[in-house]
Every structure is written in structure tokens, then in C-alpha cells.
């Protein structure tokens, strides 16, 4: 009898817990769904082919676009990747592979602190370090700010991926007469590169949406900017400026920009995941 009752209670508790986790999942998905729904609804009506090829127009002129901001965001990301990714990967390798213990701990800790630093502070830091001495806003400054945000993410991903590479691969290579460098280069990094690449893409999709660190580093630009030492437009700053302006036409453009940005990020994100799955699936 009591056994029967016990089983019923256990079953009930099981069901309740399962339902609770289900509800929690829904609550998590809800904001995401609402954001997507809203951005798509508002953005689709404001977007047009011209949006992707035209420069911004004053609020009283119809038909402006964000072509320069889209390209500007890509330029900023390029600078960030060129600076932040090699540095992050190299430091991640050092930390995971053969760092002196003290330095390793220090670097990991610093990366975590940097990762938690508000990005506006990062922007401020670059403002003092780059913008003030150069006496102008620039793509370089904006890209560097994004690089600093990218750096700890790439570093920690590299570090973590390398930790997951089994020791047995290293031993196998050593036992075949490989030097430590060869072991690292053709076994460890080769086994880890898919994971590292995936982490890099996720990090890029994260910084692509940054606004605060760009406000006073790359600033903004109504025209094309192909120079490292000139201010440059970016989707996020452009959206910010348009959204707080009192013009309906600009509000609509801000929605279109938001839809473009979120699509870009989702594409990078899904691309990274699909690629990771493909690579790891192929090897497993």
C-alpha cells in the first residue's frame, strides 16, 4: 500500500517538475519571440531595396537608406577581427598549453573581468587612448573598442576548446617522435580549430550589436567612409540616432535598420552553429 502511494507521489512530483521547467522555457522564449515579432512587423513595412543602396536623407526627404552604415558595421567588425581574433587565439593557446601558472591564472582572471566590463567603459577607454590623441573619431577607434570586447571571448573560447582536446592525442603524437610544437600545431590546433572558429563567429555576432562603445569612438557619418582615421557610420549608432529623433520617417528607418542588424546576427550565429555541427559531425 505505502509502496503504491509512494510511487504515485513520485510520479506526481515528476510531472509537476516537468511542467514547471516547461513553463520556465516558455517564459525564456517569450521575450525573444516578441522582439523578433515586433522587429519584423515594424521593419518589413519600412524596408525597401533602396534602404540597402542609398545614403541617409534628411527627415523631410523620402527614400533614404543605410547603405553606408551597413558597410560601416562590416568595416568595424573587420578591424575588430583583425586585431582581436589573432591576439585572443594566441593568448588562449598560451594559457591552455604551457603558460606559467601565475601568468595563466592572471590572464584568465583578467579576461573574465574584461568580459564583464560594461562596454561603455571600454568605449570611454578607447576615447581616452585613441580618439583624444588623434583628435578625431575614427573607424580605427571603433574597431579597437570592438576588438577589446571580442578579445576575452575569443581567448576564453580558445582556452576552453583546447582543454577539451584529449591528452591521449598529445601522447600519441609525442610517442611518434613529434616535437611539442608539432603536437600543438598539427594535432591539438587541428582538432580544436572547428571549435575555435565557431567561438570566434559567436563572438563576432555578439559585438556586431554593440552601440555604446561606438558612440564616442567611431561616432557616425552620413556619407561613405573607407578610411581608418575617419568617423564611420554603423547600423547600431544609426538606429540609436534615428530612434531618439522626433521624425516618423526616421523611426521607420530605425526599424528597418534593426531588422537588418538582427538578421545579420542571426545569420552569423546560425552559420557558426551549422558549421560547427557539420565539422564536428564529419569528424566524429
Amino acid at each position: 500500500m505505502t509502496g503504491d502511494l509512494n510511487r504515485k507521489i513520485r510520479k506526481l512530483r515528476n510531472n509537476v517538475m516537468l511542467s514547471l521547467t516547461g513553463v520556465a522555457t516558455l517564459l525564456v522564449l517569450l521575450p525573444l519571440a516578441l522582439i523578433l515579432f515586433y522587429v519584423v512587423k515594424e521593419g518589413v513595412s519600412a524596408i525597401s531595396p533602396g534602404f540597402f543602396v542609398h545614403l541617409p536623407e534628411p527627415p523631410d526627404v523620402p527614400g533614404g537608406g543605410m547603405a553606408n552604415a551597413i558597410v560601416g558595421t562590416l568595416e568595424l567588425l573587420l578591424v575588430a577581427v583583425i586585431v582581436g581574433v589573432p591576439l585572443g587565439i594566441a593568448a588562449g593557446i598560451y594559457v591552455a598549453e604551457h603558460g606559467a601558472e601565475f601568468l595563466t591564472k592572471l590572464v584568465r582572471f583578467s579576461a573574465d573581468v574584461l568580459n564583464g566590463t560594461p562596454t561603455i567603459v571600454t568605449g570611454l577607454f578607447i576615447y581616452g587612448l585613441v580618439v583624444l590623441p588623434m583628435r578625431k573619431f575614427s573607424t580605427l577607434a571603433g574597431g579597437l573598442a570592438l576588438a577589446i570586447i571580442l578579445l576575452p571571448v575569443v581567448l576564453r573560447t580558445t582556452d576552453e576548446v583546447l582543454q577539451t582536446i584529449p591528452r591521449s592525442y598529445r601522447e600519441a603524437a609525442l610517442a611518434l617522435g613529434a616535437t611539442r610544437f608539432r603536437v600543438l600545431w598539427d594535432v591539438v590546433l587541428r582538432a580544436a580549430r572547428a571549435g575555435i572558429m565557431g567561438g570566434v563567429l559567436l563572438a563576432i555576432s555578439r559585438v556586431a550589436g554593440e552601440t555604446a562603445p561606438l558612440l564616442f569612438t567611431s561616432f557616425n557619418n552620413s556619407y561613405w567612409s573607407m578610411w581608418l582615421d575617419r568617423p564611420v557610420a554603423s547600423l547600431t549608432v544609426q538606429i540609436f540616432n534615428y530612434a531618439i529623433a522626433p521624425y516618423d520617417r526616421w523611426h521607420a528607418q530605425a526599424w528597418a535598420g534593426a531588422l537588418t542588424l538582427i538578421t545579420m546576427i542571426i545569420v552569423i550565429n546560425l552559420g557558426a552553429r551549422a558549421w560547427l555541427r557539420w565539422r564536428t559531425g564529419r569528424l566524429a
Partner: protein
Amino acid sequence: MLELRLPKKTPPGAEQADPPGTAAELDPSLAAPAEDAPPAREVVRAHGINFFYGQHQVLFNVEVTAYEREILALIGPSGCGKSTFLRTLNRMNDTIPGARLEGEVLITGQNIYAPGTDVIGLRRRVGMIFQRSNPFPFSIAENVAYGLKVNGLAKKKGEQADVVERCLRATGLWDEVKDRLNKPALALSGGQQQRLCIARALAIEPEILLMDEPASALDPIATGRIEELALELKEKYTIVIVTHNLQQAARISDRTSFFLMGRLVESGRTQAMFTNPQRKETEDYITGRFG
């Protein structure tokens, strides 16, 4: 077929007479070799090995000798230091921080712990097969060719393909994988993976093969394959194999060394040792009274 690449000349220090207090004393079968057996050449001689992980000593004055073209089995209860000892023979323990060794290991007469020893070259001569098969996450062909690549052997693609085929044939894997040489090695079965690892070790033509429980993760059929393979390979190589499986030791090894708590208890011809152990501890172990 695999070419044999044993050194021709007998190096200094490999004289046949056993110095007093070493192998001959521990291994009566050596002191009085059978009439028809010519004295075999010592390929591995570990002498007075003490080994420490930090402060923790795990090997005590170990003496082990392995002769040319024989299978030497290392047996003993878990944790007695068999793997540690095996790894001293190709200096794999060098990679462990805080590990320290006293004594000397002569490989064909040269002390591999002498200052200035070329460890990379040593590991090329002394191949190792691990307990868990550990193919790289590359293709089958790349796995076998990896040793050639890092040692700068067989630069040309054609040469490489020849070696790959030869080694896969030697391990009986060729017919099973010849159509998918460029497929991932990790898709092979456990037994196939272990044979692939043996093929990978053979590719650089070592003189000695160290095997650390190579079949412990395999089913009886795959184990049988590995054992047959070991017996074939001993025609050309000296094999030192760690095993927990006493039947396995009895089936394939010529001589056996029994370890207990970091000490060598007894060495001898496997047959003799299993039927008539000299020491009480050995008898207890092989009759299953402990371990």
C-alpha cells in the same frame, strides 16, 4: 612486407654476460640457457630504476631486461607501476611535471637518460601503443602517415601511400579499410582503431614496441586479433606488453616480469614462471589469491 631495421652492430655495453646481481639472479632461466638457444641480444635493459611522482616513489630498484625478438609481459596488480615503468622506456614520463627517475635504461646499449640524448629520435625507435586506442581525429591514411610527416620521412606522396598500405596490411586492416582511407579514423570500431594505432606506430619502423594493455578495452575477438598480431610482429620487433590478463601473458609472451607495489618480484620464462613460480608472491598472484 615491413622492412627490418634493427641496428647491425652490437653497441658497447650490451655484452652478453650478465653482471652479478641483475637479470641472471632474478631470472634463473637466463643463467642456464637451453642448449639449443643461442644467447639473445639485449635490446632493453632497465637498471636500478627508482621513479618518483613528486615526493611519491612508485618504482623501487627495478631491473628488467628484454631480448631481441621476444615478447616480454609485465604483470602485476593495479597500481603497482607497470605503466609507469613502461613509460620510462620511451621517456614519455618526461611530460609529467615533477616526475623524476634514478637509474639507467639502456636501449641497444645506450643509456637513454644520459644527458644530450635525442628524445625525439628515441621515440622514433621505441613505438608505443596505449591502453585506449587513440587515433587522431583525422583520416585513416593521415593517421598512419603522421609519424612519417613529423619525422620528415617519405616526403613524396607515392612513398607515403606505399607505407600506409604496407602498415595497414601488416596489421590486417587493409582489406577492411582500403576503400575508405580518407574517411575519419574515429568511425572505425574499437578493435580496428587499436590496430590502426599499431599500424601508425609501425610506419616509422621502430625497433621496439611498448604496449600498455592494448586489448583491455576490446572484446574477445578483437583481443584475439591483437594477440595474433603481436605474435606476428615479434618476428621483427621486440615487444614489451603490459597486461592484466594472465592468460594473455601465457598465450603470447616469451618471458614475464612480475611487479608488486613498485618492485620487481620475479622475472623468467613465462612457461616456467606460470607453472613453477620461484616466489610466494608470484604464486599467490598467478593463482588468483590476490590482485
